[in-house]
Amino acid sequence: MNEITKIAPATTPDDWASDQEVRWCPGCGDYAILKAVQRTMPELGARPENTVFVSGIGCSSRFPYYMETYGFHTIHGRAPGVATGVKLANPELDVWIITGDGDGLSIGGNHMMHLLRRNLDCQVLLFNNEIYGLTKGQYSPTSRTGTRTPTSPAGSLERPVAPCAFALGAGARFIARTIDTAQKMMPEVLKRAYLHKGASFVEIYQNCVVYNDGVFEAFTEKKSSALTQIWVEHGKPMLFANGTRGLRLNRDRLRLEVVQVVDGDVSQVMVHDETNKTIAAMLVEMPFPEFPVAQGVLYCEPATSFDQAMEEQGLKLVADKVADFNALLRRGQSWEVKSEA
């Protein structure tokens, strides 16, 4: 969906909350995300009856039960498939996919890749907590190498997948990142995701208080966040640390580097161009702590969405055709058996 219209009576955040008791662990980052989504929906001018939340399996995938919208809690990893059917069957619906790092990048990684490359018009919110929570704490495809869990008591051996880099490689046209506790910035990111027509991929760093508590603390901690996060904005210099530092492109080595900004002179600092895939590629994999973690809309380069392309092709195909089913049954070479009186 890409139009914010306010014809129908405005909704309030409460209109978007279902009567179901939320069953996440106390302190779970999911609560903050749920609140932010419920708070943002009225601002989008979205309608509950035209909204469908589709999820897979995992803690995050319980999300639809708490939204007073249409919702489908499907099976592990398959939300993109179900969402594709919902959207193709009724392109008027606003489709949101709620998934996690295991659901969306492990068992459902293949579906995620194809959803993104097809560019189905929907919003994908991937709650990344770098752990399997609902199955009690096994390492996930985003867990850092060496993560000790019941299935990796001596530390995991695998290199993690970077969700936004995966999305970029899969051909996503909208990639953004935010943090569960970023209550001020998350609505802005959600709004942009909603406005983008096509698959909008949003990675949300989400803290699992039980099995992976504090895994993102190094860059989510409020006190130091000015130094550890960089919120990028299209057309603006890429600054952080309250404007005292910026990112510069070293043209000789074709890589980013951190520069001090003296007296507000940003002439050395790169300006964010969200339509530039090369910049996006650098932002999604900036190593921390050498660099701050990039947040906000990292990449947005719209292209025709899958559902739109299908609709347009359909219109062309049916343009000069009459749907005569009896004629269809008789298509091809046929013969008549006549009764001889």
Binding site: E49, T74, V82, G85, N110, L329, Q333
Partner: protein
Amino acid sequence: MATAVQAPGTAVEGDESRAKTRVKTGAAPGETGQESVVVRFAGDSGDGMQLTGGQFTLSTALAGNDLATFPDFPAEIRAPQGTLFGVSAFQIHFGSSRVDTAGDEPDVLLAMNPAALKTNLPALRRGGLLIVDTGAFGDRNLQKAHYAANPLHDGSLSPYQLLALDISKQTLESVKAFGLGNKDALRCKNMWTLGLALWMFGRKRGPIIDWLNAKFGSNQLLREANIAALNAGHAYGETAELAGPVKQFRLAPADAEPGLYRTVTGADALALGLVAGAKLSGLPMFFGGYPITPASAILHALARLREFDVTTFQAEDEIAAICAAIGAAYAGNLAVTSSSGPGIALKSEAMGLAVMTELPLVIVNSQRGGPSTGLPTKTEQSDLYQAVYGRNGDTPMPVIAARSPSDCFDVAIEACRLALAFMTPVMLLTDGYIANAAEPWKVPDADAYKPFPVQFHEDKPETGKLNPYLRDPQTLKRVWVKPGTPGLMHRIGGIEKSYDTGNIDYSAENHQKMTDTRKAKIDGIARHIPAQTVEEGPEKGPLVVVGWGSTYGPIRQAVSHVRAAGHDVAHVQIRYLWPFPENLGDLLRGYERVLVPEMNTGQLKTLLRDQFLVDAKSLNKVSGQPFRISEIEGAIMEMLNQ
């Protein structure tokens, strides 16, 4: 009833009259007046045997004969030339009386190379006519077919009437004028052969020429070369001074009800039936599929029917295909997914989701030889257990089966009807044989079918929130609410839900109640399907032969034969496999013996024993080939003599 056959728009240059002037010589197979003939075309997978067979089928249909075909081809697209495993064959059985199977053994075999001869000769009737292309019997091809000596010269073919022709040379000469390269020129061999076959059976070339014109379109060279080869093969039959077996077979047209006919394969009839089902329900159709042999033909057919409100989606895998269909069902479409055994296995978790969320969905399984990848291009009926039982949990799902290519049309409509009437996924079983085989089909009048329009639930509850599991007290089907309907927002999913509210509910008594309800709903379908009838024979007696799916043809013929010989045997063919028709148990208990021929190791037999405690006995065949009539006849006689 006397009938006349007329092919619209297919008048052609007097083949008929000239053909009739030929005088037959000697005692040959297929005398004039014979009731039916079985012909098999066999060649390399690159020789175009399926095309040849397909066009010969068309000409046969236009001549008014009843027919059944059996395309039999390797899984490899272009296997190495000349090899035994690269042989592709097409068998057609046609006649002036009712034809139900592709025939037990060919009367005529056309073998385009040594490998085709070697793999197909064992099937040829002793005394049958064997036509070979001597041009393909060089040392290299003989070696590839593992022949130590040339069978054309070592006397090994003496039990047959051999007609050795250098078809390759004849073809090259017939297309010389077009200046094609040797390879392209030789590719016209199949048309030369078809021309000869058309002459042998007194068939018209017009429809084939029309088809060649359409097929090659603007490629004038290939079009004209193929037509020239076709004409040359035909002329060869007419003019060559051939001693021996080449002569014409004359078959009178079969009796058929008046009406418009076409030939149809099971895959095409199934696709058309699904469109009809969508039309009758008033819903758009959404088809989620993934390429797999032998099911892809259904997706191919539907992908061209956008104007009938059909959306096809080629998903990234089988799982996404069914999940997209489930999503479309949730959004209010008539949803369909289709595959073959291995793909159906991948879909099973999602089938459970469709059962749990009680969404309508048609799942088509074009069965092939298993397990695992098995025999991708060969037929089998070994997915019945998978259809009935193959999911985690107590996950009941109705299962119905098509028995012939044209039956696929009606069965597809019925699958749509059941899915919508009971808000349930429905498994439709067909198989590789039915999918590829063709038969004449009296084209139905789409307007003669009773519509089953869908009513979406739009009423707000008087108090509180909608319960998405609100049920019809008669059928137990739940309400279907389309997203987009104001005031009825609700959540569904794979987790157990409360019978009363639709919210998550793991409680013991609720799970018992929901499980019982899901079962009762599917069991109850038995009250809404036709009672089981007897195809042929008595309603009580010494022996009943029970079939399902594509065994219909051979069982029917076998039962007819033994009945003609004075044995009071009955034939029951089951369309509704789960739940069974209500009267089936009583019906079967009326016979002293129950014989179940199946292309598996006894799956329906097990179901019948389990459901009705009848002493059903199996006749099994899992060779990738359909039953022969004689095999079933033999089993019937053996059982009667016990």
